[in-house]
């Protein structure tokens, strides 16, 4: 699925100027994010960051391992429930609540991954979708999720018991730092030996097996990693919006993250961020009209698959300007 995008991911030219430009762009981007609350609603920005992280974590699996999960809402929504429950019912501090969400998502990832990696390709997608739906029904009936109501009025609390996260700016910078940490982990992971082996599995699974790699363990490792980072995004979202509901575990959410990644560019580092930004903005815009989001989502999906499978960032990388900048 991602031969093309793979080329883009590895086609980093060693030219000094080009990489200087890239570092420059990175600094500017972080600077923009740091200054953003001056211009835009913090809640919108935080939503954007949560979904961007979610999409990047998802892309870790699809773009760098070649596995299409159709059930990532399980880890996103699951972590949201865990974090929400922990801070509301157990009264833990937000950072502990987030860590509980991450751990819970990783555990769910271990279970789902254990079953799903037994099949490949299309079947993998269908299995993750089915298990995701199973988790949805579980959440619908379990006591701690409060069914249709969800967990409401989740307190944001004090970070490390000190910083009051009810102040929007504090909350925003907390989310931003968490987002940057998540991105750094993803970047490190992709460029680690583990990440290289994942790439070789994606390109030629048989060859990786014959080289003696335990392909299953690597896939499972990637799956758990992706689930854990998704959990980070989900936990953050629960604190930002102060609730956790069934919406976050539904298959629509799994579809949404696929769309973000596809639209931005599968297998690129910043594609999912761009995709998430566009989808979230679009949803905000459509929320004020009565035109249903699903139709637009569906059409964008079809257009992406038919017309630009590399996604926006992927197309940019292969364009002339992108090549000049050394992508």
């Amino acid at each position: 699925m991602v031969e093309l995008s793979e080329k883009m991911a590895t086609n980093v030219q060693p030219e000094r100027t080009a990489s200087m430009i890239q570092v420059g762009l990175l600094v500017v981007a972080v600077g923009c994010l740091a200054a953003a609350p001056l211009f835009l609603y913090p809640i919108f920005l935080m939503k954007l960051l949560c979904f961007a992280l979610f999409a990047c974590a998802f892309n870790l699996l699809l773009g760098y391992t070649g596995l299409l999960s159709f059930g990532h809402a399980t880890f996103f929504g699951g972590a949201a429930y865990f974090t929400a429950h922990a801070v509301k019912e157990w009264g833990v501090t937000p950072e502990i609540g987030i860590l509980i969400g991450v751990a819970g998502a990783a555990l769910l990832g271990l279970v789902v991954g254990f079953f799903a990696i037994r099949r490949q390709g299309i079947y993998f997608a269908m299995i993750t979708l089915a298990l995701g739906q199973m988790f949805y029904f579980f959440c619908l009936q379990a006591a701690f999720t409060h069914g249709e109501d969800g967990i409401q009025s989740v307190p944001r609390g004090h970070l490390f018991g000190l910083i009051d996260l009810n102040r929007p700016t504090s909350m925003y910078y907390f989310v931003l730092v968490a987002f940057l940490i998540g991105m750094a982990i993803i970047w490190r992971f992709i460029n680690s030996p583990f990440g290289m082996i994942l790439k070789s599995i994606r390109e030629n699974e048989q060859r990786a097996i014959s080289l003696g790699y335990s392909v299953r363990n690597y896939k499972l490792g990637a799956f758990v990693m992706s689930a854990a980072l998704t959990g980070l995004a989900g936990g953050l979202k629960a604190l930002v919006f102060q609730f956790a509901t069934l919406t976050d575990v539904g298959w629509q959410m799994s579809g949404e993250v696929i769309l973000m990644t596809l639209l931005g560019g599968i297998g690129t580092m910043i594609g999912p961020i761009v995709g998430a930004g566009l989808v979230v903005t679009l949803q905000n815009y459509l929320a004020t009209s009565d035109f249903p989001v699903t139709i637009v989502t569906g059409i964008v999906f079809m257009a992406c698959v038919l017309l630009f499978r590399r996604g926006i960032v992927g197309e940019f990388y292969t364009s002339r300007l992108g090549k000049k900048l050394g992508f």
Partner: protein
């Protein structure tokens, strides 16, 4: 009493299971037929099922065309729509990773369902069963609503008919051969691109047929296919898509398993098929009738 459950309740749930199983069988059969030749998992299958029910509903509403004609017309209309979609869009994706087909049809499903939800709202519309199938029959040991008996019989016939078409006819031999080696079949002079279009239309038509059958049982609603298709995916994982008969048998089996779970442990009835899927994945990853792992 059976295992401490009144016979009436037991048989009632068994019948509901059989009805659900009929729909699982019809839908997973269509998925398997499409996947066999096109290598595309048709995510829009649930939407096409819903379209079938809606076409029946609209035919009645605007043209006073009743159930029996709808049972023929709706599959034709939806099949034709499927043919257009295959020709204009889906056929561009055959040389790519099959995941793109899944993503495309997912987008298609969202678009179709979103449109109907926009036009008709999320709530269901009633659709009456034909008058001579109204009421029920007392079988002595249980009361059988006539329409439900009809659904079981007709879907079984439709499944067998499709099986015969594929296994015993000339057209079926083209389909089977093209599943194995489409290029050679085309070199023999068979118009394989047309065959692909026909196959997608056939699958979509089968889904629509199931939709018309379902209209009087459930209500006609834009979302009726969405959750169903996910369950059918699980059915397909359990059965494996290598065999047409496998898809049919697994559909009925899982429907019945679900019905029985409702009797003994109702809380788990929503998820029992997923649980069975997980167990099958542990014991026999290729699926019960699967040929490839």
């Amino acid at each position: 009493m059976i295992f401490g459950i009144p016979v009436q309740a037991f048989l009632g749930q068994l019948l509901i299971g059989l009805i659900n199983g009929s729909f699982y069988a019809l839908l997973s059969l269509g998925l398997a037929v499409i996947f066999g030749l096109l290598r595309v998992i048709n995510f829009a299958h649930g939407a096409q099922y819903m379209l079938g029910a809606f076409v029946a509903f609209l035919l009645l509403q605007y043209f006073a065309i009743g159930y029996w004609a709808a049972l023929i017309l709706a599959p034709l209309i939806v099949g034709l729509l499927g043919a257009v979609i295959e020709r204009t869009m889906l056929s561009r994706l055959y040389n790519l990773d099959p995941l793109y087909g899944l993503l495309f049809t997912f987008g298609l499903a969202l678009t179709i369902e979103g449109t109907f939800r926009y036009l008709y709202g999320a709530s269901g519309q009633p659709y009456a069963a034909p008058s001579w199938l109204a009421g029920g029959t007392n079988l002595g040991f249980m009361f059988l609503p006539n329409y439900r008996g009809w659904v079981v019989v007709v879907s079984l016939l439709a499944c067998l008919g499709t099986w015969l078409l594929i296994e015993k006819t000339k057209l079926g031999s083209y389909l089977r051969a093209a599943t194995e080696n489409p290029v050679l079949v085309q070199a023999f002079g068979v118009n394989v691109p047309l065959l692909l279009t026909f196959t997608y239309a056939l699958g979509a038509g089968l889904a629509a047929f199931a939709g018309v059958l379902a209209a009087p049982v459930y209500q006609v609603s834009p979302l009726m296919g969405t959750n169903l298709i996910i369950v059918v995916f699980a059915v397909v994982v359990v059965g494996g898509m290598g065999s047409i008969m496998g898809a049919i048998v697994t559909g009925y089996m899982l429907g019945i398993a679900e019905g029985l779970t409702k009797v003994f442990y109702p809380e788990a009835s929503n998820i029992v098929i997923f649980v069975i899927m997980a167990i099958v994945l542990l014991l026999r990853p290729a699926g019960l009738f699967g040929r490839d792992a």
